[in-house]
């Protein structure tokens, strides 16, 4: 298979694994990680599509960077919420 197909499949597989895990698991942190894996998979898909043109397509690369930053913002908020919730559960201990 070509390089393109390999990374397309890889991206699709990672995204699918992340999505399944996100919907099925219950632990908060695991869900956060799964959410990020889903994001990584989708970005891999996009960049593999960008790699069809040589040199790599700048528009799709820019979209991937945008998606990356947005995922980080969400993960940051998720991490803060997890800390707060667990801080509460422990009765306010650090």
């Amino acid at each position: 298979m070509t390089v393109l197909d390999l990374y397309l499949l890889l991206g699709a597989g990672i995204a699918l694994a992340g999505l399944m895990r996100l919907l099925l698991v219950s632990d908060r942190f695991a869900r956060l990680i799964a959410m990020n894996v889903l994001g990584v998979g989708s970005l891999a898909l996009l960049l593999a599509l960008a790699a069809r043109s040589a040199p790599v397509d700048p528009v799709l690369s820019a979209l991937v960077i945008t998606g990356l930053v947005i995922t980080v913002a969400f993960t940051g908020v998720g991490a803060v919420l997890i800390r707060r919730i667990e801080g509460e559960e422990r009765g306010g201990e650090p």
Partner: protein
Amino acid sequence: MSAAETAMGGAVLLPLLAAALLALLPAARRRAVGCGAAVATAGLVLLTVREVSAGRTVEVALGGHRAPLGIALYADGLSALFLAMTAVVGLVVCGYAALVPASTGMRAVAVRDRARATAAAVGRGNPAAGPASRRVRRVRIAPRVPSVRIPEWRGGSGVPGESGEPGGRVRWTASNPGFWPLWLACWAGLNAVFVSGDLFNTYVGLELVGLSAVGLVALGGRGAWEAALRYLFIAVAGSILFLIAAGLIVAATGTLDLRLAAEVVAADQRTHGTALLALVLLTLGLCLKLALMPLHAWLVPAHAGSPSAVSPLMSALVIKASLFVLLRCWIWLVGSGFGDTIGPAAQVAGTDQAAATWLGWVLGALGTLALLAGGLLALRQTRLKPLIAYSTVAQVGYWFLLFPILVDPASATLEDRAVTTLAEASVVPAAIGGAVALALGHGLAKAALFLAAGFLKDRYGTDEIEALHGAGRRHPALVMAIGLATVGLVGLPLSLGFAGKWQLATAAVASGHYWMLAVLVAATLLTAAYLLKVLAALLMDADDSISDLVAAPRGADGGAGGGAGGAADGTAGEGANSGADDGTDGADVATADDAVPAAAQLAPLALGVLTVLTGLAGVWTADLLEVGAPW
């Protein structure tokens, strides 16, 4: 650029700029500036809507770069309708939040010097705050709301009175000024979604809406954090599925622009497979965000646990963004290309496009499930806000009844019977118009309901229906508002809900889907049942005279503002609270009356009246939808 084009871009940029600037202002000034920005944004939206209602779509190529390289903003009838509803509901909720600061959520305030504060509190005769007492501070909201799982606040490490633990103390007080920048950013995101003409832009707009909505839900205090986290996961999952779908569309059509991609899909048969897969993925993602049954579990805790000013925004507006994108993709993006399968000329597909037909039927089935199961679940609720949240879950089903008609507009076995006056070509437009009218009516009515419920909750500290018996007698305006909202949700004549249901039912009959009539009737009955249950409880006094309705005592820690006396408009309290770092706790026993002024009832009342008045605009709505429509 014409005025309307400028206004269209401004409707996104102005609230964003305002949100950024609001974060710099001290808490006391945020209300005024926030309301001012809201009015300005509504004005810009008005300009855009006026242009569209004159029959012209509004388009801007940002930066002067035309698609496919650049991004285009595009406002047509569908956009204008949703923009208008967002502006109206947003304005009213801003007004409510300005009048009732306590409705914007909870915030943590540092308590600098515990000993001094405790002494002060004791000095003011607060028995619960003595150093010997172990139960020092009570949670400020809802002293007796059993299902809100906030343990009584103990402060710090759970053992009061100890010095030397690592941190300071916090106490939770009502009114969170973080509401204003978050809400304005959310509004900017909503407007961005509604005027977007580019798929990736839609994705970024959806994410902006999602993140600010998560923040707004999290304002509800410690009980809402879990719900906010769950909502965060769902929002991201849905958006990333949409992103993958957009990637597929780019792969197949070579462009991200909505209209250009539609043209390619329409022209090139070979793209249909990929376009269909993209449609399936984005439908799945958006249904997650729309809380279509059975993916609805996240919605009820999130909407019910949000603060009073946030729940209406969530149920009435944030959900509509996903609905808007769903409609756009089905009808504009894919519909024109799948003429055989989707749209006025569709036949039952025997081709490889049968998947689209299947999907439409599945969506219709799930919509029916939502209507019936959601209605039944709503009936079983004992608390007001979860009941209204389940009502949202149910009402989502109405909008999905559109899809079977969309994919199968001529399934009649009674072909020659003229049962309606609808021409064949207008069955699908009527169905779409019906769904949109239902969505708009739902927005207005649900916002009114949530505002009313929030008022009661802030006033009396509880939203247990049993505990609120007889509240209607003291707040006739509120009951009126709830009654009008009921008219809107049930779909009684002279409301947008009625217009929508009528159009949907007519389209259903004209296309031969007679089962839909039964579903609509059953759903209407269920809606009436649970809403009348609420009204009845509010209007009738309790059977026993023991449970008299009293204003929430607010505990020893003072009312919404925390400042002395808790001024009616809360300004003084706001200022005092944000400025004072030391022991204003143990203060004022501001009663709930002062914290939640009666004038706040105007907000739900206004929305209720609008729910009914907009019923007169049913025809205008249908006409507006024609602008820029692909049929």
